[in-house]
Subunit: 406 residues, 2 copies
């Protein structure tokens, strides 16, 4: 007998019919004799509907009341799944964040889980009652409803799996696992049986939106064994595990890409200490997140160029900020480009295998793809290239690192 | 400075625009310096939408989860009204049943309020923060969400008005008060400025669905001054008050009618002690509510007839029950009629004025309207007549008791 935490996203709970399908699926696992806690998101589209009502009242909404309103989506789906389970003969009840309680801290609408008291749920699980838990929500120390930010149900699931000491946390979604690349872009992409937390983190932050980044970090810290799998079929998914669990480490596990990039070059800035801080300070103050950064080597030792990337929808705002501070920064001109994409090679194995980056640069050179910016971490190499080469670059890299499906 | 409890029904909160109108209306009262607690129903149509989702899963639903799901409607409207109040500069917050807490007892979906702890709300009211309270809901002693049955928000409002010692409980609805009769049926019906709890109770249970009966009973017991008024205009409504507050008591305050009646006559039953109990026992066991009852005087001292009324949609079931028990009851035959209506003359003044019933019988006789059954209480006389005479009877009575608007 094992104890599992199952989490179902909104697309798995789109209507009553799907909720009943999920209930049947849970019954199969329950009938095998396992203890089950289930975390649910709101029914597909519901959260957006609630948010739009809040926005209709006021653009600068009150986050405390936003949480009261938006958390009702998970309240309804938890109740509906609990009834569906009862209907097919399973003992079950719904749990809301405040009932457990899941105590949170931090500001409303973006709260963080501080503590979970699982005593009551532990008792019911041992009695083989299925706990259907509303994801995304908690309660503040002052007794008000809080929410964890978009996609927060993944975090609820992982935190509960850790607190309940579940043997595994299964995240049911509308894809059947983590792939070596985006299958829409790379037809030969194949599903990974295992991936490490670190790789998953790099992939998630690079645009493969299978899991909320926070939930992966939490799983890594709490050593929660995660599985990503589809609620629409019965094939096994991808296990997200600790590096130690993967004996034969792939040098490269996947090729990720992030399409919403823009590049800014600030040229002719005087090459003095502190210039980077003076440029990036005002951008940070305006909540503009800077990703890759390259500072050219100054040949004349007087002026230099700084190139960096940001998300595309912040480009206009970033240029505005820089222009407003022109006198203080003393640059010559700003050059921007929003037709760029970031392509990354990710794999924990590259730590012990030099030459991964070199292989990447070679193949891109062979294909006449120009590299604008390079950045590297322990387990990934990213390059910024022209958008029009996205498919060619990602497919070529997928082939050259041996990831194509046979 | 006074303290008011304002209650807004679903039709007053049909969309965001209306919620904002209600907020403006509350601002006018708040700006006069009063302390305000506001109870809200779910947005119009929302409760039915949630109930239909529950029904879609299972006909014999689980009442605990029904309460979790259906209570979310008031949660959303409370949050939206609180934001709307904040937007126009009023200090405000939402309160859910479990946050106050409103402790209930009895079965789920039909719970009764047992206790309300108003300490926290009292503190915020004194700080001139408007408490926006989700109606219809509470929390059980085991910490689960409960609901009070359809129309329960009226009961929430009255119970909170009593607990908060409010100077008045204003029930905003889509009619502007209590009328001497149904204005759709009697064009000359006029609005009553005052009505007693007892009259209101008789009228509510006789089909004038302005207030939930339980809420009127509670108001009577707790001596809560109730006002029924419209949220769509600014005219004053009807005060529901203690009899002592009405100096010049009208002999008759209103003519009510109840269209969903059916009549059953069980004829040729042996005239022995205990026969009534033998007939009504099985009906009560089947949850069939019997209203008016007449037992004919037995002329031959051997057999008699029993006539009684029930609600129309239970007629078939009632006949079934009687036929199943035919051997035991030993009657000759059953005669039924579902084309009947109950018309009632209501007024606390009739206690001290004999002749009210006689006047009723006379006018009905003059109009050739046959009376099937008569029943009386201290403050009302009801007759059962053929459905086709409804308008004629109600209008004639309205005129003869001097209720027509000048």
């Amino acid at each position: 007998m094992s104890r599992y935490l199952l989490k179902f996203g909104g697309t798995s709970l789109a209507d009553i019919n799907q909720i009943q399908n999920i209930a049947s699926r849970i019954k199969v696992i329950s009938d095998q004799g396992h203890e089950l806690a289930v975390v649910v998101s709101a029914m597909s589209g519901k959260t957006n509907e609630l948010i739009s009502m809040v926005s209709e009242v006021s653009a600068d909404y009150c986050p405390e009341e936003y949480d009261v309103i938006v958390s009702s989506g998970e309240q309804v789906s938890a109740g509906l799944l609990a009834i569906s389970l009862k209907k097919i003969g399973l003992n079950s009840r719904s749990w809301l964040g405040w009932q457990i309680p899941i105590i949170t801290e931090g500001v409303h609408s973006f709260s963080r889980i501080k503590d979970i008291n699982v005593n009551a749920i532990n008792i019911t699980l041992k009695k083989r009652e299925i706990a259907v838990i509303a994801g995304f929500q908690g309660i503040s120390s002052s007794g008000r409803i809080t929410t964890l930010g978009r996609g927060g149900s993944d975090t609820s699931a992982v935190a509960l799996a850790a607190a309940l000491k579940a043997d595994r946390c299964d995240i049911y979604t509308d894809v059947d696992g983590v792939y070596t690349s985006d299958p829409r872009l790379v037809p030969k992409a194949k599903k990974l049986n295992k991936v490490t937390y670190e790789e998953m983190l790099e992939m998630a932050s690079l645009g493969a939106k299978v899991l909320q980044t926070r939930s992966v970090e939490l799983a890594k810290n709490k050593k929660v064994r995660l599985q990503v799998l589809s609620s629409f079929n019965n094939v096994s998914g991808t296990m997200v595990v600790d590096e130690d669990e993967i004996l034969e480490k792939e040098i490269v596990s996947g090729i990720a890409y992030s399409p919403n990039e823009a590049k800014i070059t600030v040229s002719g800035v005087s090459d003095k200490p502190g210039i980077a801080a003076r440029i990036f300070g005002p951008l940070a103050d305006s909540d503009i997140n800077v990703d890759m950064i390259v500072q050219n080597i100054s040949l004349d030792k007087k002026t230099t160029d700084l190139t960096f990337t940001i998300t595309r929808n912040q480009l206009k705002q970033a240029i505005n900020v820089l222009e407003k501070n022109k006198d203080n920064l003393g640059y010559e001109k700003i050059i921007s480009n929003d037709k760029v994409v970031k392509v990354s090679v990710v794999g924990v194995g590259m730590r012990s295998h030099p030459g991964v980056a070199q292989k990447m640069f070679s193949i891109l050179g062979e294909k006449n793809i120009n590299i604008h910016v390079i950045s590297t971490s322990e387990i990934k190499v990213s390059v910024l290239i022209d958008e029009e080469y996205t498919e060619l670059a990602v497919r070529s890299l997928h082939t050259v690192y041996g990831l194509d499906e046979n």
